[in-house]
């Protein structure tokens, strides 16, 4: 934060207050779920924020207890489907965005426009026809049956983010590589990809979040444990009796599925921020 240096004490105080408020607003629900996940079934009705007795009961239930089968298979589905969808989306989006940023071809605007249109299309209106179609062609309740719709969610934003990123990389680098004897593919791979890596990581993380957090497709296009992802599986948790809400188990599962997201951000933080392009051209 280079600009922060010039702030007066008063401005600093103001910014701190604003930051704390935003953090509270964003993190309070997470903290509440975190607290709930450690409460006993009886404690859940207690209006106190923190549990009166800390317990691992809920975590035991989803990992080794009655909800184990439901949760662990869902977790496996979620991880597998999301990773595959992210990988395909990033590879396709990288090639597509590169072409959009660097080459001139008819229909370039059309591709970008369509990508935008797809991304603002309400998911819920697609899901019913998709449900029918998937059942007919046998994709219902399978991994590909979720990966394909997830691509429609992740590709547009990936293409847009990456195209913006590619446009910032000085074109001279690629031309220099071509003059130095590289084919267009070599120039892309040796001069552009290393520089685009931070952008690709950022895009991958965004795509991962989108697919990871999806609920509508997850619940509508699956019927069994064969492909049901975690967000959908949470709705199938049952309490100890039919009069008990499984709030504790759901909270525990929610905390568990949040962890990969946090880990991802922490891992790739450096790549996202690193200014690799410094020094490419006169700075």
């Amino acid at each position: 934060m280079a600009s922060a240096k010039g702030l007066t004490g008063r401005q600093k105080l103001g910014w701190t207050v604003v930051t704390v408020l935003v953090l509270l607003y964003a993190l309070f629900p997470v903290a509440a779920i975190f607290a709930n996940s450690f409460k006993t079934q009886a404690d859940l009705g207690n209006p106190a924020f923190w549990p009166s007795n800390w317990t691992w009961e809920n975590y035991e239930m989803i990992f080794v207890g009655s909800a184990q089968e439901l949760f662990l298979t869902a977790l496996r589905n979620s991880i597998g489907i999301t990773l595959i969808a992210t990988f395909i989306a990033v590879v396709l989006a990288t090639l597509c965005a590169y072409a959009i940023a660097r080459m001139d071809f008819p229909g370039k605007k059309f591709i970008l426009g369509t990508a935008l249109a797809v991304s603002i299309f309400p998911v819920i209106s697609v899901v019913t026809p998709l449900f029918n179609l998937w059942r007919t062609i046998g994709l219902y309740d399978t991994w590909p049956g979720l990966i394909i719709p997830y691509l429609s969610l992740t590709l547009p934003i990936s293409i847009w983010t990456l195209a913006a990123f590619f446009r910032q990389i000085p074109w001279e680098l690629e031309q220099a590589a071509q003059v130095d004897g590289a084919t267009q593919w070599q120039a892309f791979r040796k001069a552009i990809v290393p520089l685009a890596a931070p952008g690709v990581f950022t895009t991958a993380i965004i795509a991962f979040f989108i697919a990871w957090n999806d609920f509508v497709y997850g619940i509508s296009l699956t019927s069994t444990e064969a492909a049901r992802p975690v967000p959908a599986a949470l709705a199938f948790f049952t309490g100890a009796s039919q009069f008990e809400e499984p709030t504790g188990a759901i909270s525990a599962a929610a905390i568990v599925v949040t962890i990969p997201v946090v880990v991802l951000v922490l891992l790739f933080q450096r790549q996202i921020v690193s200014g690799l392009t410094q020094g490419a051209v006169k700075g």
């Binding site: 000085p170 001279e172 680098l173 031309q175 220099a176 590589a177 071509q178 003059v179 130095d180 004897g181 590289a182 084919t183 070599q186 040796k190 001069a191 290393p194 520089l195 690799l276 392009t277 410094q278 020094g279 490419a280 051209v281 006169k282 700075g283």
Partner: protein, 420 residues
């Protein structure tokens, strides 16, 4: 190493505007040719067409006698130094220089790569920076890395696209002489694009002046200076620029030929006068150094020129020389022509101010009335409409360019003898 030939090269963009129009140029093996002109004249486009980054609309491009219009940049075996250096920021200096060799798989062993990079680094004084990343280098060092990447392989030619324009003035002078020496040492055909006429004059064996995509003149720096083909070349080459005085050729009371100008009558040599005769108005091109202060000059030379009396507006004393500025009333008939010229040269505005270089011992000050001597033998007359140089001596000009070619030959032999 190879010669480069451009035959009637045309570059038209999608809107049909010819950025480069019918440019023909022969660049000999080992020659250092400069493309110079104001911004937007198409000089960079010509360079990019040579290297293959820009398609050629019409015409033929030959490298070493082979037509290469359709060849990809990598098949032309040229090395280019970009204006912003275009170094690979994720690679060390060593790997940046080694990059072209790494692309030719199997052609170089690891040892050869190391050897070649080390040699280039020694030549460019980069040895101690080989492990650093470009981001941590100064402007001059980055410039050298870019050159290292160019010289490390056996390229047919070096192409420079305004390589010094991002450096400060002092470094620019230093790098300029380094480039000149390097080119002489390697004796590799070089094409160099710049908008700076000093770089053009100091580096080039021959200089090609471009204006709006059209080649104006290709000649040695001396010929451009002494025998410019037209008003544009005359104004563009030389600093401070040539003065253009409007005037009419007349016969004076004493029977000699004079040019009647706002400064007064200037006696002309017979052949100069003949070229301007019968025209309503001409522009007399007089370089600042064609003038002398009549008071401090060598009295013996006085008779070989013409004298005018002027009012000095202001002076600038620079130590080695002194500039005297003289305001005059411009002729409305040439105002458009001069305004147009200033515009074409990217200059500020039309100057109705004469710039005169006098000896630094001269004590002229603003407000003085003074007598100036003009070396009338070197005056050129231009047609204000077409810009054509009416007094150009093509033969004398060609002789100057021939001399430059001989100089280059001598340099090359000297270098070869040193190397042997």
């Amino acid at each position: 190493m190879a010669s480069i030939t451009l035959k009637n090269i045309v570059k038209k963009y999608d809107d049909g505007y010819p950025a480069v129009n019918d440019v023909s140029l022969e660049i000999d093996d080992g020659e250092f040719v400069i493309l110079v002109g104001p911004s937007g004249c198409g000089k960079s486009t010509v360079l990019r067409m040579i290297v293959g980054l820009e398609d050629i609309t019409e015409g033929d491009l030959l490298i070493g006698g082979d037509r290469v219009n359709e060849k990809a940049p990598r098949e032309r075996n040229l090395a280019m130094v970009f204006q912003n250096y275009a170094l690979y920021p994720h690679l060390t200096v060593f790997e940046n220089i080694a990059f072209p060799m790494r692309l030719t798989k199997g052609k170089f062993t690891e040892e050869q790569v190391r050897e070649n990079v080390d040699r280039a680094a020694t030549m460019l004084e980069l040895t101690e920076h080989l492990d650093r990343k470009p981001g941590n280098l100064s402007g001059g060092q980055r410039q050298r890395v870019a050159m290292g990447r160019a010289i490390v392989r056996d390229a047919n030619a070096f192409l420079f696209d305004e390589p010094l324009s991002n450096l400060d003035a002092k470094l620019r002078g230093q790098m300029r002489s380094e480039i000149a020496q390097l080119q002489r040492r390697l004796n590799t055909t070089s094409v160099y694009v710049t908008h700076d006429q000093t770089e053009a004059m100091t580096l080039g064996d021959r200089v090609a002046v471009l204006k709006k995509g059209i080649l104006q003149q290709v000649a040695s720096p001396r010929e451009l200076y002494e025998q410019p083909a037209n008003l544009f070349v005359a104004g563009f080459i030389g600093a401070p620029s040539m003065n253009f005085l409007p005037g009419t050729v007349k016969t004076s009371d004493t029977g000699g030929d004079v040019l009647s100008t706002p400064l007064g009558d200037i006696e002309l040599r017979e052949d100069t006068a003949r070229a301007g005769q019968g025209r309503e108005i001409v522009l007399a091109g007089i370089r600042p150094e064609f003038f002398e202060d009549a008071a401090t000059m060598d009295q013996g030379r006085k008779s070989s020129g013409s004298l005018v009396r002027i009012d000095v507006s202001r002076t600038e004393w620079l130590g080695n020389e002194q500039y005297v500025y003289v305001d005059y009333e411009n002729d409305p008939r040439v105002r458009d022509a001069l305004q147009n010229l200033a515009h074409e040269m990217d200059a500020e505005d039309l100057r109705t101010q004469l710039v005169v270089a006098v000896d630094s011992s001269s004590r002229l000050r603003g407000g003085d009335e003074a007598e100036l001597w003009i070396d009338t033998g070197r005056i050129h007359l231009f047609d204000p409409e077409t810009g054509e140089n009416l007094t150009r001596d093509a033969e004398a000009g060609a002789e100057l360019t021939r001399m430059a070619a001989e100089d280059r030959q001598r340099d090359a032999e000297r270098m070869a003898a040193k190397g042997a």
